[in-house]
Amino acid sequence: MIKESKNKEILPLILIFTFSIIVGYFMLPQKNIIELMKKEYISQRPQELALIIKDLQSKNKTLINEENRLSDKILSYYKYANDVEAQIASMKEELKHLEIVKGNVGIEGEGVIVEIMEFPFGENSTTIREEDLLILINDFWSAGAEVISINDIRLKNSSYIRRSGLDVYVGYKALKFPLTIKAIGDKETLIPSLEISGGIVDLLRIKGIQVTIKGEDKVIIK
């Protein structure tokens, strides 16, 4: 009689235990799949994927252009292999191109001019943070800006942006407000990318910082 009641108590437990083991066996690999999904595109929203595709397509175009430019350069080098003067001219042309990219030659082109004014004093004081400026400049680059200057200081590989008290530093130079950011690139892409709802410009305006964005046919950066 006692043995029978013991069996009655243990049987459901054994059943639940076995069931849990089976479920656990199937679910644990699922955890690894989910981890993998987080690292892969498959877990993302179609809108995010569309942005990635757009970015990759634009990179693809510039990569192919660069490949063609380099192939042409090699062809020209070989074509003038026995003509020293022509070879020197071809190399000088390449050097000029690199100096433009490096930032040693003044450039112009269509783009945008953004003016930023903060108000550090008074009742409704508001200031722009270092982090905000980094996001803003990053947004310019991701929207396809080719060259950027802040208060006429061209950003180069070594440029950093820091805030110290009321000053904004780009490299060692302290800049005064209003900040004027010039960017050369496709203005039709740059303007909507900066004006996007919920973007950094939107957030700065909500904070009370004055931001004006103007598209220009000719922006000069020296």
């Binding site: 699922q30 690292k39 498959i42 990569l63 450039i107």
Partner: protein, 240 residues
């Protein structure tokens, strides 16, 4: 009586384990974040193709750059002026980031927390964000880093670092944690970065939320060349 209590406790543990497994299954689907819409299959296929194509063009660009440098080197032996321009070209390419660079510096590793956030935790503090990488790059430049890379993506002035869901895009390349940031420069000066308020916050998050933050001085680091294009479509030299 004690036996019954023990059995109830046993049952409770089993139910708890089961609930944990169920949670693992359904939590990531919450909010649709990791739900796979059918059109994703096509889009992901397109992304993979574009990534593959970009990778092969990048490789080709590296080969072409090597061929050009080799040609310039050989021509330098023939003429003095060519030798002078050739050395200027080499220096310009190094400054822009078109060549591989070796030297001493520091290595910073940032990675998501090893702990899973509980229901009461804010998951924001358990992951590495694009803003962290932007701040680190900016600070490294402040401490005179001459060349920087993140997961072997060379950082140039126009490199954008943006978040796209659970991944971070750098130079349009998909990066996942751990993020290994290498910077060439004086290791003593570069390591002062840890005294910055931003790093104090990172170390606090490390202590509190178990994100990974490692900063190490290195005597030998290799930073790869930039794989992308350096052509301007809109910016032209100012005409006199």
């Amino acid at each position: 009586m004690r036996k019954k209590l023990f059995l109830n406790f046993f049952l409770f543990v089993i139910a708890l384990s089961f609930a944990y497994l169920v949670m693992l299954q359904f939590k990531p689907v919450k909010g649709g974040a990791y739900f796979m819409p059918p059109q994703n299959v096509e889009l992901v296929e397109l992304i993979k193709n574009l990534e593959g194509e970009n990778q092969s063009v990048s490789k080709r660009i590296i080969e072409l750059r090597e061929q050009i440098e080799k040609f310039e080197k050989t021509s330098s032996l023939k003429n003095e002026e060519i030798a002078l321009i050739s050395s200027k070209l080499k220096l310009a390419r190094e400054n822009i980031g078109l060549t591989e660079i070796k030297g001493s510096g520091i290595e910073i590793i940032l990675s998501d927390s090893i702990k899973k956030p509980t229901l009461t935790d804010d998951p924001y503090y358990f992951v590495i964000h694009d803003s962290y990488l932007r701040n680190v790059v900016n600070l490294l430049k402040y401490y005179n880093a001459t060349s920087i890379s993140i997961n072997d993506q060379r950082i140039l002035v126009n490199s954008s670092i943006t978040c796209a869901g659970p991944i971070i895009l750098v130079n349009s390349a998909k990066l996942a944690p751990p993020y290994v940031i290498k910077a060439i420069g004086d290791p003593e000066i570069l390591s002062k970065i840890t005294k910055e308020t931003f790093f104090e916050i990172l170390f606090f998050y490390q202590k509190q939320f178990s994100i990974i933050v490692k900063v190490e001085k290195k005597q030998e680091l290799t930073i790869p060349a930039y794989l992308g294009s350096v052509i301007f479509k809109y910016a032209k030299e100012i005409k006199p």
